[in-house]
């Protein structure tokens, strides 16, 4: 098989620029075919348009155009109170919303200088890792489906449902989670551990089935191996993070580089690849699902008791029972709702490891209840910028797996 792969994949004119390729056509009295892929193409699962120039089946030039889902997240956040922006962060990466919630709240807490109690940190890690698994499952399932493997998609979506059930039990919604609060989070329901472990096991079994169908399948491997290849050094220079960078052999993961929450105490592995092609990206994601499952199980075992909210009265809404009965708490509640809590003036950047890479929030505060400037560093956006260079020199059919493995999420890329 590998001979076949080599023959098909490595285009002979790979190294020559588009201008030189175009010059060939002047002799032939023909011109490269110009096609527009997207924005409503079934394989473009974020809304994105790729303009391709083709010579036969080979891509000689590509232009990736984004912006179809731009909703002005940053402008919106500058006009809302800090606590009001939490639901908006759900809509960034809508296939793993909890990770965005956690990232945003950690950034705001860093601005305030608050540390949350241990139980809160454990719950945030549990929610975040469940979300990461769900995101990878969707990414793998969708790209497998685009390569005409429909059954693994069904199994992975079933597994994803089992994870979303757990998130649903904690926060009451599957996608629009609104999971965290500034300085706290929602508490786990009773009997969550047993419920979660049972569903995690079922989800892992389903993932293993999908793994069995895909990993050893010659058609799948032939389309994934050697396509969309980019070396780790180039990926770094282009600002790519997340599974795509790790597949290129760079072990950069925010959880390991600058541990936040309780990740430093946990026991898990960061998978990296060797070749930097689509198949490695697929394998890294598969392995991350298993590692995340390990993390969730460890957290469930070691979950401490105690409060889930910090005591800091600058951000913490008072307990309901006291709001009903006591004047001071009522006034606290009114002040916090109406003015949103006053952070110190200053600027912070806090990054967490999202499903696609580093999700960072950069908040500039002028000391009022609203952020003067809010910026989300979204991994999809940076990951998409070198896509052009991964596509050029490949075949038209390679556009689909490469794009699928970049896992562009429109909401996060365009914000």
């Amino acid at each position: 098989m590998s001979d076949l792969v080599q023959k098909n994949r490595v285009a002979p004119n790979n190294q020559r620029g588009p201008a030189a390729r175009r010059a060939d056509f002047d002799d032939l009295h023909t011109e490269p075919m110009h096609i527009q892929m997207g924005p409503s193409h079934p394989a473009m699962h974020g809304t994105v348009k790729i303009e391709l120039d083709l010579e036969g089946e080979e891509v000689i030039d590509a232009d990736v155009q984004i912006g179809y889902l731009h909703r002005g997240f940053e402008k919106e956040c500058e006009t809302g109170f800090l606590y009001q922006n939490i639901p908006y962060t759900d809509r960034l990466n809508y296939s793993s919303p909890v990770l965005n919630n956690v990232g945003y709240c950690l950034a705001v807490e860093k601005l305030f200088g608050i540390t949350t109690p241990p139980r809160c940190q454990f719950i945030r890690v549990i929610g975040g890792e469940l979300s990461r698994m769900a995101d990878h499952m969707l990414a793998l399932g969708a790209s497998a489906m685009e390569l005409a493997a429909f059954t693994p998609m069904l199994y992975l979506l079933e597994a994803r449902e089992l994870l979303l059930d757990q998130i649903d039990a904690i926060c009451g919604a599957r996608v629009t989670t609104n999971f965290t609060r500034i300085g706290g989070t929602l508490d786990l329901p009773e009997g969550f551990a047993a419920f979660a472990v049972e569903r995690l096991d079922r989800a892992l079994r389903l993932t293993a089935d999908a793994d069995k169908l895909l990993t050893d399948n010659p058609i799948f491997r032939e389309r994934m191996q050697g396509t969309g290849r980019m070396a780790g050094k180039d990926l770094l220079a282009w600002g790519v993070t997340g599974p795509v960078l790790r597949a290129g052999g760079v072990p950069y993961d925010v959880r390991r580089a600058t541990p936040y929450l309780i990740y430093g105490d946990l026991d898990f592995d960061i998978p990296i690849g060797e070749h930097g092609d689509n198949f490695d990206r697929y394998l890294v994601r598969m392995e991350e699902i298993r590692q995340s499952c390990r993390i969730v199980k460890q957290c469930l075992e070691r979950l401490p008791d105690g409060p889930v909210n910090s005591d800091d009265r600058r951000v913490k809404w008072p307990p309901k029972r006291k709001v009903f009965g006591q004047m001071e708490e009522l006034i606290d509640q009114f002040k916090l709702v109406l003015e949103g809590g006053y952070p110190p003036a200053g600027e912070v950047y806090h990054a967490v490891e999202g499903a696609n890479g580093e999700v960072g929030f950069y908040i500039v505060s002028d000391g009022s209840g609203r952020a003067w400037k809010m910026r989300c560093r979204s991994p999809s956006f940076s990951n998409m910028s070198p896509l052009k260079h991964m596509l050029i020199g490949g075949q038209l059919a390679d556009v689909v797996p490469t794009f699928g493995m970049m896992n562009m999420i429109g909401g996060e890329c365009d914000r």
């Binding site: 929602l186 709001v323 009114f334 709702v337």
Partner: protein, 178 residues
């Protein structure tokens, strides 16, 4: 550091993995196992994935956030005192309240309480901000309407007797205890 790095391994390229027939057989094996499993569950009436909405409905957890509704007390009045906190906390500005006064025991009440359901995103901040437990997230999720005007819900449509909201109120007390 307990966080290690592992290199993912590609499955070796065996002769068998280059033969599509083996892959097809293997795939058939997996899907037939799933098919038989589902068939067995179906025969026992325990199928756990397909839900025939609306005849069957999922059992939702108590944390579920449906559309926000107003709590109606036993005397038929709303519990809301029109303080306007939910209006302020709402990120999408979809609540509008006009307060009024009476000579009852609770002097203030909302004369108008409208929620624009086409803008509401079920975030639950109104419920969290309310100092009276007067607005809660119900389990109602069917809010489609035939016209745009229909998605503006008025006070009379939003009132739900307190007995029907017991699960949610209990959940709220537990959730926001600390």
């Amino acid at each position: 550091m307990a966080i290690g790095v592992v290199t993912v391994k590609r499955p070796p390229e065996r002769w068998s993995s280059s033969q599509p027939y083996f892959a097809i057989l293997k795939g058939l094996g997996v899907s037939i196992r799933h098919f038989l499993h589902n068939l067995l569950l179906f025969a026992r009436g325990q199928q756990d994935f397909t839900v025939h909405f609306p005849e069957q409905r999922l059992v939702q957890p108590p944390a579920m956030r449906g559309m926000p509704v107003l709590v109606q007390m036993d005397n038929g009045k709303e519990r809301c005192v029109a303080c306007g906190m939910c209006e302020w906390a709402c990120p999408t500005n979809c609540i509008s309240i006009f307060p009024a006064e009476t000579n009852d025991e609770v002097e203030r009440y909302p004369e108008v309480f409208d929620i624009d359901m086409s803008r509401c995103m079920f975030c639950g901040f109104c419920e969290e901000a309310c100092p009276e437990e007067a607005i809660v997230m119900s389990r109602q999720i069917e809010i489609a309407s035939y016209s745009r005007r229909g998605s503006l819900w008025h006070k009379q449509d939003l009132l739900v007797p307190v007995a029907e909201l017991k699960t949610r109120l209990d959940h709220l007390r537990r959730q926001y205890e600390h």
